[in-house]
């Protein structure tokens, strides 16, 4: 009993002594971005990324000025500006009301910082969505085209003769999907995986090689039994990355692979019943 009590005391003491880990707190990490418009006017946007607990890669290396633990008085998400915690608020008191109405899609807000400054700024109105949400939208806008399956021999396979498989070039190109904010998901063709309908499968780097005399291919299969119909599939696999303003950007948790499956069928005959070649 004494050992149990000692153990419990140690656990409680340990919990009390362990420092709180602010990085483990989930929630948005924000920073302010000033945008210069074509007329020279400046608007402010609050760019937030979601912080995933325990994931040191998330947050995009945002500035940490203690904004997550600062005791800010207003309702806006905290962010860093000039190394001090700040936030936007609709409460502009005691500032003078703006002299001009806010343009459509924007609004006047006060920017309060813990150094005591409070200034009126024109904000972008609709704040950008978290990058992960933008990435999911961009990924969802990747649209693989229909796959056109080719093989040789082109009418039917022949037992004990290599059948070549490939996709038409247009079936397996680079794809782009864009979010409303302009984040681009780029899908780069990687590999194709073919199931041949007789229990076999073959993985090919790229779309496979179109048959021609003297060419070689890693995308072939040799059938050993004739059949009026082998039902096969081809999976096209793309590797996905994301770009913002043309520059690659890492977005933790965003999908990095895209695949699309297409069914096809092929008859395979014994060689002696055939009258022609390829």
């Amino acid at each position: 009993m004494r050992r149990v009590l000692l153990l419990l005391a140690a656990v409680v003491l340990g919990a009390l002594l362990l420092p709180a880990n602010p990085a483990a707190a989930a929630g948005p990490r924000c920073h302010q971005e000033a945008v210069k418009n074509p007329d020279g006017s400046i608007t402010y946007h609050l760019v937030c990324t979601t912080v995933v607990p325990g994931d040191p890669g998330s947050g995009g290396g945002e500035e940490d000025c203690g904004q997550d633990t600062a005791n800010l008085p207003y309702e806006g998400a905290p962010f860093c500006m000039g190394g001090i915690p700040c936030q936007y608020t609709d409460n502009i008191v005691p500032l003078a009301p703006p002299a001009t109405p806010a343009p459509e899609g924007q609004k006047w807000q006060a920017r309060y910082c813990t150094d005591g400054t409070k200034v009126l700024v024109l904000t972008g109105g609709n704040q950008p969505r978290p990058l992960i949400v933008q990435a999911q939208e961009a990924f969802g806008n990747l649209a693989p085209p229909a796959a056109t399956v080719r093989h040789s021999p082109d009418t039917r396979g022949i037992v004990k003769l290599e059948t070549w498989f490939w996709l038409d070039g247009a079936s397996f190109g680079e794809l782009h999907g864009t979010s409303a904010e302009g984040l681009v998901a780029v899908a780069v063709p990687d590999s194709t995986v073919w199931t041949t309908g007789d229990g076999g499968s073959v993985t090919c780097a790229g779309p496979g090689q179109a048959y021609s005399a003297g060419a070689t291919s890693d995308c072939t299969h040799t059938y050993t039994r004739a059949s009026a119909r082998y039902d096969g599939t081809v999976a096209r696999n793309w590797v996905v990355h994301y770009e913002q303003g043309g520059a690659p950007i890492t977005i933790p948790g965003a999908p990095v692979a895209l695949n699309a499956n297409t069914a096809w069928a092929l008859a395979v005959a014994e060689a002696q019943v055939l009258t022609g070649g390829r």
């Binding site: 074509p38 020279g40 002299a99």
Partner: protein
């Protein structure tokens, strides 16, 4: 007021216009090998009596920008010079922009580069299309004078717009503009 004096001329008509208005100034040059980015022109704010309609439009247009830059630098939406170069709705638009930045305690410093196409004059109305570059025209904090880090909406700071001018005495007033995207 400081402006780069390089002139890029890719259109023969533009060359004729600029030559007629004598706006090349010292340092003016032709450089067809340069990329089609914005260039600046120098021009007197007041058109000369001998200027062609096209050249006086260009001169007035650049004078308009001089006043816009001055008003933004001074953070003064009521700068008297604005009314001498622009009329509504463009005048109100410019004043609103200056006012907005002033409320945010911002002033714009630097220069704006231009690559205008030859103006089109029809009676007392003229239109001019320009690819202007505001990448070197940036905000500073009015209180501290320190620059504010900004991102250009277009990514490059270059924008194409079509300006409408109305004849006013010997010169022209900029009365409207239509944004045409990046350039």
């Amino acid at each position: 007021m400081f402006r780069r004096m390089r002139v890029v001329i890719t259109v023969a008509a533009a060359a004729a216009v600029l030559a007629a208005c004598g706006g090349g100034g010292d340092g003016a040059e032709e450089d067809a090998a340069l990329p089609p980015g914005p260039a600046t022109t120098s021009a007197a704010a007041t058109p000369s009596a001998a200027a062609t309609p096209g050249s006086s439009v260009l001169t007035s247009y650049l004078g308009f920008w001089d006043a816009v830059i001055a008003a933004n630098k001074a953070a003064d939406p009521a700068l008297p010079g604005l009314a001498a170069v622009a009329a509504d709705p463009e005048l109100s638009r410019v004043r609103a922009t200056v006012s907005r930045n002033k409320i945010q305690k911002l002033s714009l410093r630097g220069e704006v580069a231009h690559a205008p196409k030859p103006p089109t004059v029809s009676g007392s109305t003229a239109t001019l299309e320009d690819c202007y570059d505001i990448s070197d025209w940036n905000p500073v904090n009015l209180s501290t004078g320190k620059p504010i880090e900004v991102t250009d909406e277009s990514g490059t700071g270059r924008y194409r717009a079509r300006y409408t001018l109305r004849r006013s005495g010997p010169g022209w007033l900029v009365v409207d503009q239509k944004a045409l995207g990046g350039c």
